[in-house]
């Protein structure tokens, strides 16, 4: 275990990164954006070091992703390094990710050298300063997170002021590295709590984090957006990213749109999961994303095995097919959604950005509910925002809480939700309706009892039922399923 070895000086790490001769993630992203194609990246992380190396190599061989990931375990994310270290020793298979801090940077380098694709660290740490140092010492120059997006969905009681300060330190370090010639790709976790996140909530948080990151010296920013499930809305959200960058960021920052394949409740049957995976990948291409984070057909069951993970990568890569040039979203509808999204984001972020101290303004706005996210894991957001799907499946505000949206915007959302949900709902039925919206895809595929409107898809109406098959389809994920019968 090399976890105890002190960190090397930054200059040494920079020299190591150079000597590695790997194409950096930032450059891969640029290459794909230029080509109008989507770089493909899986999530992957297991507790044991050898198991992790093997996993990366298997995925590289079988899935050929463009970027690979070290997904970090929950203990490490929350700074419970002792627990992570203990399990890494005793029972690494019980960890839901790779405890990088416990294993240490020398092992990080081993992982980095084991595969040709650049690595990214994906975690969920309100305070990632130590992990960032270990990552850089490992020669890893792509790092996910942000002071809002890695706090509110990932911890209960870390003050936003603290997480913003910790991430400012990370971003400053990126600035130092940039001066030494090493560009770190800093991905912002716009996915937030992943479930029914209104696009303007996701993008508003990312704009604020991006502004702070750019000020701290970050040169390459990936703005991640979670697929919501509605073609036009999702494509519009992705297309909004370069426009928002142009509006709110200095011109010399390299900004990438990144799509996270559907991050909410996944269908359980393999066929249905794979339909959703392909759908997400097509949306990424249509939206002009530089990168796509993939899911697997085992998503509903648990952390996927390598075989399922590789299959997800390969399926997603079909979206890069030169044969799919004829596939397009409804451009009119998409333009409409784009206009709405840009207006909403402006209404949410501009009052904050007008204030002299952006960090303080963010802290205050979340305390007041003028910034907010649904289903917060943290006490430091109010979660007064209540999302709903409209009749076409797009995510709207049933309640915008205290978000400073214009009367016009609010009226539109009211109208859209009403046309979807019928009359204004009462509490009991609200919970049921919300649950149905959360279970949108399992319901759409007919996996669960309630059979929703199969037309509600956001594309041109499609009146065909999914499977004209009377034979029951076999149960999902290979070996998946739950032993708790």
């Amino acid at each position: 275990m090399t976890g105890g070895v002190p960190l090397p000086p930054l200059q040494e790490s920079v020299a190591y990164i150079r000597s590695l001769g790997k194409e950096p993630a930032a450059q891969v992203l640029g290459r794909y954006r230029e080509a109008g194609r989507v770089a493909v990246q899986p999530r992957c992380g297991v507790g044991g070091h050898d198991a992790m190396r093997e996993l990366l190599q298997t995925l590289a061989a079988q899935g050929e992703p463009d970027i690979l990931t070290i997904t970090i375990d929950s203990h490490t994310r929350l700074g419970r390094f002792d627990r992570a270290r203990r399990l890494a020793h005793l029972s690494p298979r019980e960890l839901n990710g790779y405890p990088l801090v416990a294993h240490g940077w020398a092992r990080g380098r081993e992982l980095n050298e084991a595969v040709a694709a650049p690595l990214q660290i994906r975690h969920g740490s309100p305070d990632a300063r130590l992990m960032f140092e270990v990552a850089v010492a490992s020669g890893i120059t792509s790092f996910e997170g942000g002071g809002i997006s890695y706090n509110l969905p990932y911890s209960k009681d870390v003050a936003l002021a603290d997480s913003l300060a910790a991430w400012e330190a990370v971003d400053r370090r990126c600035g130092e590295l940039a001066e030494l010639g090493v560009i770190v790709d800093r991905e912002l976790f716009g996915t937030l709590t992943a479930v029914l996140v209104p696009p303007s909530v996701s993008l508003a948080v990312s704009v604020l984090e991006a502004v702070l990151a750019a000020r701290a010296g970050v040169r390459c920013i990936s703005v991640a957006y979670p697929q919501g499930g509605h073609v036009a809305q999702d494509v519009a959200a992705l297309r909004a990213i370069p426009l928002l960058a142009a509006r709110y960021l200095p011109g010399d920052i390299d900004v990438h749109a990144v799509l996270h394949e559907f991050m909410g409740v996944f269908p359980r049957e393999r066929d249905n999961a794979e339909d959703l995976i392909l759908y997400g990948a097509l949306v990424a291409r249509l939206g002009g994303a530089s990168k796509l984070l993939t899911k697997t057909y085992q998503e509903a069951y648990g952390i996927p095995d390598a075989e399922a993970n590789a299959a997800g990568i390969r399926l997603a890569r079909r979206a890069n097919s030169p044969l799919l040039g004829f596939v397009a979203p409804d451009e009119e509808r998409t333009a409409q959604e784009l206009e709405w999204i840009l207006a909403e984001v402006a209404e949410i972020v501009e009052p904050v950005l007008e204030r002299p101290d952006t960090k303080a303004a963010v802290v205050e706005a979340f305390a007041d509910g003028r910034l907010d996210i649904p289903f917060s894991a943290s006490r430091h957001a109010r979660s007064e925002v209540i999302p709903r799907r409209d009749a076409s499946g797009a995510i709207r505000y049933l309640s915008a809480g205290r978000l400073p949206l214009s009367e016009r915007t609010l009226r539109r959302h009211r109208d859209q939700v009403r046309s979807g949900a019928g009359a204004a709902p009462e509490m009991g039925s609200l919970l049921a309706e919300l649950t149905a919206d959360i279970n949108y895809f399992p319901l759409l595929f007919g996996e669960t009892a309630r059979n929703p409107d199969p037309d509600a898809l956001g594309g041109p109406r499609e009146s065909r039922p999914r499977t004209p098959d009377r034979r029951p389809r076999s149960a999902a994920g290979r070996g998946g399923g739950d032993a708790r019968a």
Binding site: S74, H75, R77, L78, R80, R83, L87, R93, E94, L95, N96, G124, P153, Y154, S155, K156, D157, T193, V195, Q298, Y301, G302, I303, P304, D305, A308, F375, S376, A377, S378, R379, S383, M427, G428, L431, L434, T435, I438, G477, G479, G480, G481, D482, A483, R484
Partner: protein, 151 residues
């Protein structure tokens, strides 16, 4: 027949998500649902270590159950302090657990036994089973309490 119809006095439960786990959505929904059924829900939210559940028990001795969600696969490790808390009586009421209880897509039956061995009294798959279980626990508790009161 709802729980609160049986007992006009407000029944309460302690709810939370395991120590290393930030999955909030089911927690939000379960809290709302139990409240709409009349329960007083002490919701400790995400990332709640055993010690915090124990502290809540001390604060709310009338709580009928400690209901823990664990989604991220870490149930085993996150409940490592549960045996001590139960042995010391710091957590005296039944512990109910639900979620995605081990890492990986291929579940083995044995891990449920290991969780029970830690002091988990009931493992449920679906939160919809919670009201019925709570009613049953409530009835058992009264059945145990009555003879004792008579002695």
């Amino acid at each position: 027949m709802y729980a609160h119809e049986q007992n006009p006095q407000r029944r309460s439960v302690i709810l939370g998500v395991a120590a290393s786990d930030a999955h909030a959505v089911a927690n939000h929904l379960i809290a709302h649902t139990l409240r709409s059924l009349g329960f007083h829900v002490v919701n400790l939210g995400t990332c709640t270590p055993v010690s915090e559940f124990a502290a809540a028990c001390a604060e709310h001795p009338q709580a009928e159950a400690v209901i823990i969600g664990s989604l991220n696969g870490h149930a085993q490790e996150d409940l490592r302090d549960l045996p001590a808390a139960k042995a010391s009586g710091a957590i005296a009421c039944p512990v109910v657990l639900g979620g995605n209880l081990s890492v990986g897509s291929h579940k083995e039956a044995a891990f449920l036994d290991r969780l029970r061995a830690l002091g988990v009294d009931h493992i449920l798959e679906d939160p919809a089973e919670l009201p019925a279980l709570l009613d049953r626990l409530h009835a058992e508790r009264k059945a145990v309490a009555r003879p004792r009161a008579a002695s």
